[in-house]
């Protein structure tokens, strides 16, 4: 007679590694059943909504960028856009284009950081990118060259990679000179083949097989894949205007997290590259669609590990679209990049697609141009509930497969990492 022994499993991971910010995982299995499984957010809050109060509006994008060390450009853009929407001003076309290019540079550098530095070590059996240098030096070289280009592009369009300096209310402090644009275009052409070479490496990574159907929330593009402004959409059929964001987020508090959680049509929803990809597939650049085909990823795929594939697809989208947009900018009149404004009593919402998903900023201003109230809803806080429920379902599946403690702990961390969580940002 065979006796089945169900060893208890106790996993406690404090301050999980290779993610931005501080999160813990706790998993307890008793008698072969999942007794406890928590994705715990232990980041200390900074209270940004309070910090904004009483400041002049000019300070808003500068302070907003400090919410996040990785997606500071997105925060500055959402903040400026919210105040511009509130005052009902439209920034000049050259500034609109340069802002999208700053956004693309950020998306490329953020996705590259995540794919090469944070998740690749899991698939190459290494503890970190420092260890990957020894085993797969070429991959680290490719990462350095792709990310190097993205950082140069950020410097050019945002003034700096982290905490941009050119994004201001009414437009930008400057747009790059034509000569700089032509040089960047050359660098871009050199970078594209590196991305294709990296694709060959990522194609070979074997992603865990796991699916839990969810709701995808993102911006909905009109005539292009969305990054700045537009309608809010969910794959369960909800569609709202930018200023109706509260109907999409429905924040609530849980006792194991300093970040708020969110819900919409079901217990959780997901934002980020996979949600954008799924809701806007038709608007991707043809080269990006080609890559999606090679990676075998389709709209409506719910495997959370595919988030990383969608990021890779988006790397191709942003680099090819940047190529076209830089050419357009070189051929257009860029002498107007800022417009004057007059503060008034008003309120407004600005929405952008940050690398990790849809990001909302709201401000109420008084007639002296001071901020009276602020609200920021962060992509990762919208993903926490989805990570939480995914983790339970995934671990139950792993238990049923008879996996041991060490493997469950490792795979659970890989699942969380797949979302590219930005935890400091989610708590802000």
């Amino acid at each position: 007679m065979k006796i089945k022994i169900d060893r208890p499993i106790n996993i406690e991971i404090k301050h999980m590694t290779r993610v931005e910010g501080h999160g813990d995982i706790k998993i307890r299995v008793e008698n072969g059943k999942l007794a406890e499984c928590v994705w715990k957010i232990v980041e200390t809050p900074r209270f940004f909504e309070v910090m904004f109060k009483g400041l002049p509006i000019e300070m808003a994008p500068i302070l907003a960028s400090r919410i996040c060390g990785i997606c500071s450009i997105s925060h500055a853009l959402a903040s400026a856009r919210a105040i511009e929407n509130a005052m009902q001003i439209e920034i000049p076309e050259a500034a609109q284009k340069a802002r999208v290019l700053a956004k693309h540079a950020e998306t490329l550098q953020s996705h590259t950081l995540h794919l090469f530095f944070l998740i690749a070590p899991d698939f190459l059996n290494a503890l970190s990118v420092i260890h990957v240098i020894k085993s797969n030096q070429r991959l680290v070289e490719l990462a350095a060259m792709i990310k190097g280009f993205a950082n140069n592009a950020s410097d050019l369009f945002a003034g700096r990679t982290t905490h941009p300096v050119v994004i201001k209310i009414g437009g930008l402090t400057q747009v790059p000179r034509k000569k700089q644009l032509r040089e960047l275009a050359k660098d871009l052409n050199v970078t594209i083949p590196y991305l294709w070479e990296a694709l060959d490496v990522f194609k070979k990574f074997e992603l865990p097989d796991f699916t839990r159907e969810t709701e995808f929330v993102s911006l909905k593009g009109g005539d292009c894949y969305p990054f700045i402004g537009g309608d809010l959409v969910s794959s369960d059929g909800v569609r709202k205007k930018e200023d109706e964001y509260l109907a999409m987020t429905n924040e609530y508090l849980v006792d194991f997290s300093t970040s708020k959680f969110t819900r919409l049509s079901r217990e959780s929803f997901a934002v980020g590259a996979l949600a954008r990809f799924s809701n806007n597939y038709d608007l991707l650049h043809p080269k990006a669609k080609e890559v999606a085909g090679m990676l075998n990823i389709k709209p409506g795929d719910f495997n959370p590990f595919f988030h990383n594939l969608a990021q890779l697809v988006e790397c191709f989208h942003v680099i090819y679209e940047s190529k076209d947009m830089i050419a357009e900018l070189i051929d257009s009149d860029t002498s107007e990049f800022s417009i004057p404004y007059k503060p008034e009593q008003c309120e407004g919402v600005g929405v952008v697609e940050a690398p990790r998903g849809i990001l909302y900023h709201y401000y109420r201003l008084n007639k002296d141009g001071k901020i009276e109230e602020a609200d920021c809803v962060i992509p990762t806080s919208q993903n926490h509930a989805n990570i939480y429920y995914d983790l339970q379902s995934f671990v139950e599946k792993l238990i049923a497969q008879g996996k041991g403690e060490e493997e469950i702990g490792h795979l659970a961390q890989m699942l969380v990492r797949a979302y590219d969580p930005c935890i400091s940002c989610s708590v802000h």
């Binding site: 209270f47 309070v50 109060k53 950081l113 070590p121 990118v129 240098i133």
Partner: protein
């Protein structure tokens, strides 16, 4: 590692974060071209944001963020006990940075505004040296990636780093930038120490003082040049208080 026949130490370093955005430590990973060299020059034994290796035998600790809870205080003290050299990295660690902006409001008021009646563990914003001795302060929001590497080179060679004490204006003039004050902006360049290569004025954006005071600070003249150009005293004061880097010397 050998240099001109002399064996150099390869110090073990740890990188740690508290209440902040983690943008400073990201600068370390952002210097792609020299990343490999850096990993050769020092041994990184603890860098949670990018590595799953976590050893506690570090000699130099780079610490980012402010301290806002008791558990952070305890963790910082543990790091101090282990590290021979502790570097406060960035404005949040050196002066509290933008975190201090919430100190204009009471703590219960602050928590209530964001979390309602929900219990949240948080205390006043403190800079590292409010709690433990700090050996070196690497200024900026964020820190400059070049300056970080310059500091590491100094530490490896056993040289006490000498940070610039001249104002941002010196580097701004060296880069032949047009003066942003003359362009109608507030700029704290005249009172803020250099070392950032005037990255903000270079991009037609006045200095915000994230690196703290230069050696000779003249608030009266700074105020005068701005008031002459139509700004109010309140506007200049708001700017000086933004990163909390002038606290103690500006009242």
């Amino acid at each position: 590692m050998k240099y001109l026949g002399i064996t150099l130490e390869r110090p073990k370093i740890g990188i740690f974060d508290f209440t902040g955005c983690e943008g400073c430590q990201l600068q370390i990973a952002n210097n792609e071209a020299s990343l490999k060299d850096l990993f050769g020059l020092v041994e990184i034994v603890n860098f949670r944001e990018i590595s799953s290796e976590r050893r506690d035998d570090y000699e130099i600790a780079f610490v980012e963020g402010s301290i806002t809870t008791d558990s952070e205080t305890a963790r910082l003290k543990k790091i101090r006990k282990q590290a021979k050299i502790l570097v406060a990295m960035g404005a949040c660690a050196c002066s509290g940075g933008v975190n201090n902006l919430r100190s204009r409001f009471s703590l219960p008021e602050t928590i209530k505004e964001v979390y309602g009646e929900h219990h949240i563990d948080s205390g006043p914003v403190r800079k590292l040296k409010d709690i433990v001795p700090v050996d070196i302060e690497l200024p900026g929001c964020p820190v400059s990636k070049n300056e970080f590497e310059w500091l590491v080179r100094n530490l490896v060679l056993g040289i006490t780093p000498q940070f610039p004490t001249y104002p941002v204006c010196v580097e701004c003039k060296q880069r032949l930038n047009s003066c942003v004050v003359d362009m109608g902006m507030i700029c704290l360049g005249p009172i803020t120490r250099g070392g950032c290569n005037a990255v903000c004025p270079r991009n037609r954006f006045g200095c915000w003082g994230c690196r703290g005071p230069s050696d000779e600070v003249n608030f009266e003249s700074l105020m005068e040049i701005h008031i002459k150009r139509g700004f109010s005293e309140e506007q200049v004061v708001e700017r000086i208080n933004f990163f909390n880097t002038f606290s103690g010397i500006f009242k």
